[in-house]
């Protein structure tokens, strides 16, 4: 009995229970058996992948006790950049991906510098970065979606060929059972897990979030740890931007608006503490599945967007309240 209670108080258990709860709803409201089709689960994984990639970076930042509001805008900026370099510029896949990853990481480093060196509160620093990156996305795209349709000087539209890299990322592998973006998402989870659980710097991230003063006095390079977290978050949002551009076959300067909130919701529903210092990629993965299934179930049951948003909000609050009851 005591063991059961202890088991119930584990964060992983709670995250798992939340996921099972959502799955149970899915079994009940199965939309005439649609929920039991493999394709439903496959599509859920594909649809949650971009948000999930953002949530990986968000987890790293939240573990240090910070928050990164700029990931959504950064995604938009990187999607536009990717389309410009690859679709319009005609550069190869490696060059395009490399350039976009560098740009995203740079944006993250900028946020990190504001937080770590200039000691601006993470919320404020990344809020500024969020607005700035969105503006930049609109500036470099001229406010237009960067798509195959190019307006020639005579006013007519000509269509350029979509580069192979777009098709490759949007493809499905293994008999169409796994989307490439899902594999990319799982890759990002693996990289984040490696950093958090296996590298010395991961320990620095936890220590910084757990007790910054104690960490500093123990010789932990607190500023560098924070820089790393925000830089990786920027890098992951660039990955997400590339995936988004490939899926939409265009670079939309409005892409990713509000995605930062979904990413935070995934991290929080998983049971990671917003205070920092605890949590891990396992929780974030469970959180991503929970949010993914929730949205999938609501959509196969043809629940309208308005109700879907309201329900999502209610469930996030419920998850946070659960987390607090444990602390108290």
């Amino acid at each position: 009995m005591k063991n059961l209670r202890r088991w119930l108080e584990e964060n992983e258990t709670r995250a798992l229970l939340a996921l099972l709860f959502v799955l149970a709803i899915g079994c009940l409201c199965n939309a005439d058996g649609a929920f039991f089709h493999w394709s439903t689960h496959r599509d859920m994984l594909r649809q949650v992948s971009v948000d999930g990639i953002l949530a990986c970076g968000m987890t790293l930042v939240i573990v240090t006790g910070g928050i990164d509001l700029a990931v959504g805008s950064n995604l938009g900026l990187c999607a536009v950049l990717f389309a410009l370099v690859s679709l319009r510029g005609g550069h190869g896949a490696v060059a395009a991906i490399g350039a976009v990853l560098l740009a995203g990481t740079g944006a993250g480093l900028l946020s990190g510098t504001l937080v770590a060196r200039f000691r601006i509160q993470p919320f404020i620093a990344t809020l500024a970065m969020m607005v700035f990156a969105r503006g930049m996305a609109k500036w470099i795209s001229g406010g237009e979606k960067i798509s195959q349709a190019v307006q020639a000087p005579d006013g007519n539209f000509v269509y350029v060929k979509l580069p192979a890299v777009f098709h490759a990322i949007d493809a499905r592998v293994w008999g169409g059972n796994f989307a490439v973006v899902t594999l990319i998402f799982l890759g990002c989870v693996a990289v984040s897990w490696l950093v958090l659980a296996q590298l010395r710097y991961g320990r620095y991230l936890y220590a910084t979030g757990g007790n910054e003063e104690a960490a500093r006095l123990s010789g932990v390079p607190v500023a560098r740890a924070k820089l790393l977290a925000y830089a990786l978050s920027g890098c992951f949002s660039a990955v997400a931007g590339i995936c988004q551009a490939a899926q939409e076959q265009q670079g939309d300067p409005e892409a990713g608006a509000g995605y930062e909130l979904t990413a935070i919701a995934i991290v929080v529903i998983g049971g990671n503490s917003l205070m920092g210092g605890r949590g891990g990629m396992g929780l974030t993965l469970l959180g991503a599945m929970t949010i993914g299934y929730l949205e999938k179930i609501l959509s196969i049951n043809a629940v309208g967007e308005s109700s879907r948003l309201m329900l999502t909000g209610l469930i996030v609050v419920a998850a946070v309240l659960l987390q607090r009851r444990k602390a108290g």
Binding site: A197, Q198, L199, R200, Y201, G202, R203, Y204, Y206, A207, G210, N211, E213, A214, A215, R216, L217, S218, G219, V220, P221, G277, R278
Partner: protein, 538 residues
């Protein structure tokens, strides 16, 4: 006989198994200043917190003007006329003086919805005139943040009186003030006494006690020791009351380790200055010099505000590169710049605040232990869990840490075991110089003895130890020499034979020397001069 405002009888208070107050009695008459004295940890602050309604759970009774009361919250105590002037100001810097004075009890008109700023200004001005505060109406409309600390201090008292406080509690109100400001505060206290309020005054400064007190009550180890009118309580008796316990048997005397004269000291500190965090004020540590040899323990004695903590923080580089003076470790020059660098150079610093700056409560025992020496268990940046657990296991065994698993969160351990985990963290860095601040705070008796034994082991292994402890018996029992600090300056250095509790306490209270505006104490100056002289030799 003026009326009795307050009567505390048989007050007792426990934190868990730790009994911090037992059967304490205290009373206060109208128009008197009653000084509450005692060493750090004697229970003064706890008693005040009971009185102010911060600790709701206590034994015994409180009578206010003959009426029994029991406060559930500070607000309730405030409504009944008890006001505590904190060392940390409770003023809102961005709000005006008048708004601050009336905060929470604003003067209002038209049914209580509209602020009556004019009336507030007039009433505040009237109050300031009564209290001889040199503040005009236009000053009262300025934000509090524009005034220096000393004026803020007095504004806080004015605020308390405006709330019709009958009982003022002042906890070390002069720690941040210079001599002139202190005099002004005392004048204000006289004005307060004339309004037939009573003042409970806590201080560590001998001179102040005899300047302001009408009566003195001394607490020791959470118990009442004595109450006497100031005329019947000379300095010698006061010190006896404050110490008054047998030292023998407290700590087994340390096996005498002859100080190796002529050998190079492990740690050399010369004319070390640590600036104050508030740059407008004088340095937190001034002209500190000490030598600590291999295997030696040098104790630093001092009461609150002595600067000993700042000395450790400065030496460890926690303030960055702001300290002046010369430091050498094993003869190599060392300039404190950051904790990371200090650790690399063989320094370790156990802070007094275990929860705030020692442990990372959410992390496991093993991770806490490896934190300061992570590169040792993560070659190439990859953590080796096996190596980490092996190291942690060895430390847990050597320090007799009782735990269920090395993976359990460190917050779930007892205080003594938590402290040992922090010690293990520092031992993992293989330090040459250990700075220990209150190594046995919040630790039970058994663990205390174990930590003392460990300290002896470390000295035998050649480490140099600097020890801050507010427990005099501990300091006397462990130290080879004791350096006493008072308000940032050294006021005495005592060898093993010379150190007595009376001498140390007198020096720590600055009784032997005048205050800081005066030249540094002759003794410190002479030591400094001698050292400078020695350095100038070829």
């Amino acid at each position: 006989m003026p009326p009795r405002l307050l009567q505390l009888s048989g007050i007792g208070k426990s934190f868990g198994a730790n009994r911090v107050l037992e059967g304490v009695c205290f009373d206060l008459h109208a128009g008197e200043v009653h000084v509450l004295a005692g060493e750090n940890g004697a229970g003064k602050s706890t008693l005040i917190k009971v009185l102010a309604g911060i600790h709701g759970e206590y034994d015994g009774s409180i009578e206010l003007a003959g009426r029994p009361v029991r406060f559930a919250s500070p607000q309730e105590a405030g409504r009944q006329g008890i006001s505590v002037i904190h060392q940390e100001m409770s003023l809102v810097d961005a709000m005006s003086v008048a708004d601050n004075i009336f905060l929470g009890r604003e003067l209002a008109r038209r049914g209580g919805w509209w602020l009556d700023r004019g009336a507030q200004l007039r009433r505040a001005h009237e109050l300031c005139r009564q209290l001889d505060l040199e503040l005009e109406e236009e000053d009262l409309a300025r934000p509090v943040g524009q005034f220096p600390l000393s004026v803020k201090n007095r504004i806080e008292i004015a605020k308390a009186l405006c709330f019709e406080a009958r009982i003022l509690v002042m906890d070390e109100p002069t720690s941040a003030l210079n001599r002139l400001e202190v005099e002004k505060l005392f004048v204000l206290m006289d004005a307060v006494k004339r309004r037939s309020c009573g003042i409970i005054y806590i201080t560590h400064k001998m001179e102040e006690i005899y300047r302001v007190a009408d009566r003195i009550t001394v607490l020791r180890d959470g118990k009442w020791v004595g109450t006497a009118p100031v005329a019947d309580c000379p300095e010698s008796q006061l010190i006896r009351w404050m110490i008054g316990r047998e030292l023998s048997g407290y700590i087994a005397p340390r096996a005498g380790l002859p100080r190796s004269e002529g050998m190079q000291p492990r740690l050399e500190v010369r004319n070390f200055h640590v600036p104050n965090l508030d740059p407008s004020r004088s340095d937190a540590v001034r002209d500190f010099s000490v030598d600590v040899g291999s295997g030696e323990i040098v104790g630093i004695a001092g009461l609150q505000g002595s600067g000993s903590t700042e000395l450790f923080q400065g030496l460890f580089g926690a303030y960055g590169k702001v300290c002046r003076g010369k430091v050498r470790i094993d003869g190599e020059p060392f300039r404190p710049s950051s904790p990371r660098d200090s650790i690399r150079r063989g320094l370790a610093y156990l802070t007094a605040d275990r929860k705030g700056s020692g442990l990372i409560p959410a992390m496991s025992v093993a991770s806490n232990m490896s934190l300061a020496a992570l590169p040792r268990v993560s070659p190439g940046g990859m953590l080796r869990r096996g190596t980490e657990l092996a190291h942690a296991g060895r430390q847990a065994e050597a320090l007799h840490i009782r735990l269920a698993s090395l993976d359990q969160a460190v917050g779930t351990l007892s205080g003594g075991n938590q402290q040992k985990v922090v010690l293990a963290k520092w031992l993992e860095t293989e330090p040459r110089v250990l700075l220990l601040e209150e190594p046995t705070r919040g630790v039970d008796v058994g663990a205390k003895q174990e930590i003392y034994a460990l300290m002896r082991q470390w000295t035998a292994a050649g480490m140099a130890l600097l020890l801050i402890s507010t427990e005099l018996p501990e300091l006397l029992g462990l130290s080879d020499r004791i350096v006493v600090m008072h308000r940032g300056e050294v006021t005495g250095t005592f060898g093993r034979g010379e150190a007595t509790p009376e001498r140390i306490l007198a020096a720590a209270m600055g009784a032997a020397t005048p205050r800081d505006e005066d030249p540094p104490s002759s003794r410190a100056e002479m030591t400094g001069r001698a050292l400078r002289w020695r350095e100038s030799l070829p």
